[in-house]
Symmetry: C2
């Protein structure tokens, strides 16, 4: 019977001493005199399975010369191997070669640099590290959907192509079908975007939050999960031009509800991945980051701390620690500050709330002190900030003034303002950069290594 | 206790005669002399719940003047109403107004045209039709993830920004950060894309299939589900510039496996939505399309027919039916042909396979007759084509020749070709336009009405 390697590992009793058929790729091959071993990986499971073949096979000569990554159809008996490293192996009765490989296969059995592996992004998921990373990425995506859907949140797809800048921060990619060589001009000699595909200037979205708010004010609890873009010229290990973001938005909810949701979600997703990708997580803990599992267990089991920005600043000032960026009330916290608070002071995840309004976005709700806004950042050990969110300004006049104060035009936000005019209510939400979460869960340190085909400054290969 | 309208409908015994708190929006209000009725919708459920209020409330005067869509916090007792249209109502003991609305609220209780509702896309999910559409969209998204994840398919996010044209069909949006007014030129006076953000010309993806194949040849079974783009100047009810596509790709699999997967998936997703969105589906069946539920049940319960293109052409020729596009072997089937086959001949979904190679994409596997390729389209009553797929050409030399014959440069496809060089295997996959599926499931006839904020020619509002 045709089966998957995963099924054999999960319920081997069912298959022991039976004839089974497996289809997969040669991860390793060792040819001895009259027999040999193949480690076959079929992609369904982190581990492969050992195939024993002998010169009783009619195509023995072909088999023993196979190159890595050849694809095979193996028929054989699953045998227990009580003395072996693995609990079973397959004694092949027939091996059919589906597709040959070649001696110049770029993913040989040796240590490759991460940089090199990025140049073979079409093959790297065949390595242990990247098969683990991208299976975890898939499982974590599903955990996010599962968490929200089981709580009746409505999944919303905000537009990717947009004419508004949700963050008011610039750094957007232009989307256009105009001819760059001869763009149409208007009477004043400016580019005439009325002639462009959408009849106006358009960009790739940096966040679906504003549209998400419209849906939260219809469905109460919603979430988005999709690609977002930043045309930021940052060549760092933590910035990509294209990344996935998850943004829940909840109505009739304040900052406390928002933190409760973020805490529950983080714990759920991490637990789910630890349960569903045990082999992959053990691999990361062994080869990528020896503290990984204990750090993640700490997150799942601890009650997240909650402090205000003002308290955080006091802690930092009292610390007598020398920071590169000196601490004063009003500054934006830097990674060194965030990591000190979460790693050295509390040794667990910490929500920092109520930031100075001048360093936060226009849509955040102003507190009664007129100095701070109902913002929250979640800081976690090993990374610093992983989630950013806020209660949104629901008071029409205040929001309108904020837009004006930020040098934006209220007319561009007419529909966003209308959400406050027609049955507005307190509401809140947050954003989680999905790749940052995957880096956190896997211990991988470069964002390029948790995206199948990353896009960064000067890099859009494949 | 604070609760959701959904919970009350699902387990009303738990709440009857109890004091509960609900938060939601006024969908309807009827003020009589000393009392009145409010239909409160909290977004968690298609139906609202009736609130009875009386002049015993201290803010009775405020309540009876509320405009549609005001947001409220209602405290009251859930009472059974054996004579009523609904099984229960809430006798309010306290109503707190969270957010007022206004007499110019644009979504008044009257019939609006779909065109008008598109101009208030931020408010239309508060209407019955669109709350149903977008909840179904969310549930169907989840059904797709659930179907594949429960079968251990790995979810892959192929890049949105790309330098290759997967379909070889053109009509792509350019993505750039160059200054349109003064683009950098190279020595020959052409735009110097080396100066652009990615150091090369880039576009929005039309399909993640090629990248998906790389992952299927690592993980065996994978799927993608994300936004794709077409800069097509088609102002029809079925074309959007931005839409979501779902593309599974399976290795060690042929066209028959591909059809089996598509059939199972379609049945699963439709059944799941019919189970999980009963109220919404009844609404569509009553107000949008009276044949909807019977058509969907027919899909779930029938075994899909499978015929070849050549057989389809024979059937069409023998039909004596007058088509706008005359039928000859070699033509691409038009919607009128597809609908005749699925609606009038078989009266159920039909896979048509093995199309002439000249009308299909370069990557489809050539059949032994040298005339056709192992392609499949799924035709369904009421729509025509809803899924397109194929077995992929896994033979290196043949694929390379096909690329050349199509006027493309094999060097641009070096990594795609390498997938055939290093342990290639037969593999197959298909694409499902998610919005077309939602139109099919809901009976909505315009793609603009199943996308929260649609993007079409000359339209990128919100």
């Amino acid at each position: 019977m045709k089966t998957f390697v995963k099924d054999i590992y999960k319920t081997d009793e069912k298959y022991l001493e039976k004839e089974i058929i497996l289809e997969g790729w040669v991860r390793n091959i060792r040819a001895l005199k009259n027999f040999g071993f193949i480690e076959l990986n079929d992609g369904t499971f982190f581990k492969g399975i050992q195939i024993v073949y002998s010169d009783e096979l009619s195509n023995f000569a072909e088999i023993e010369k196979l190159h890595l990554s050849s694809s095979l159809r193996v028929k054989g008996i699953l045998k227990p191997t009580p003395q072996g490293k693995q609990p079973f192996e397959i004694q092949a009765t027939d091996i059919e070669v589906e597709g040959l490989s070649s001696s110049d296969y770029p993913l040989q059995k040796k240590k490759h640099t991460m940089e090199y592996l990025r140049t073979i992004a079409h093959l790297r998921p065949r390595s242990n590290t990247f098969s683990a990373v991208f299976r975890v990425r898939s499982i974590a995506s599903y955990a996010i959907h599962k968490f929200f859907q089981e709580r009746d949140f409505v999944y919303v797809n905000p537009p990717i192509i947009t004419s508004s800048d949700a963050e008011g921060a610039g750094e957007m990619f232009r989307v256009s079908t105009l001819d760059y060589k001869k763009p149409p001009l208007d009477n004043e000699g400016s580019i005439d975007y009325k002639e462009d595909f959408f009849g106006k200037e358009t960009f790739l979205t940096v966040s679906g939050q504003l549209e998400a708010e419209a849906y939260a004010l219809s469905f109460k609890n919603i979430y988005t999960f999709g690609p977002t873009f930043r045309a930021e010229n940052s060549n760092t290990s933590r910035h990509a031009a294209e990344f996935w973001m998850m943004e829940p938005e909840i109505a009739f909810a304040d900052l406390k509800d928002n933190m409760n949701l973020a805490e529950k979600m983080m714990k759920y997703v991490i637990s789910y991945v630890m349960d569903e990708a045990k082999e992959e997580m053990e691999f990361f803990n062994k080869f990528i980051d020896k503290d990984l599992l204990s750090r993640l267990e700490n997150i799942v089991n601890s009650e997240f701390e909650r402090i205000t920005y003002t308290e955080a600043v006091e802690i930092l000032k009292k610390s007598n620690k020398k920071f590169n960026y000196p601490v004063e009330w009003g500054i934006d916290l830097q990674t060194e500050h965030e990591r000190y608070i979460t790693e050295e002071v509390f040794k667990k995840p910490v929500f920092v709330t109520d930031y100075p309004k001048d360093i936060k976005a226009f849509y955040m709700r102003e507190n009664d002190d007129n100095k701070t806004v109902a913002a929250m950042d979640l800081l976690v050990p090993g990374v610093g900030e992983i989630i950013g969110g806020s209660q949104r300004e629901e008071r029409l006049e205040l929001l309108e003034q904020k837009i004006i104060d930020n040098g934006m035009n209220p007319e561009d936000y007419w529909w966003y303002l209308e959400l406050r005019k027609y049955g507005g209510t307190k509401h809140a939400g947050f954003g989680l950069g999905f790749e940052r979460l995957i880096m956190y869960i896997t211990g991988m340190t470069n964002i390029r290594d948790v995206i199948p085909f990353p896009r960064t400054v000067n890099w859009a290969e494949f």
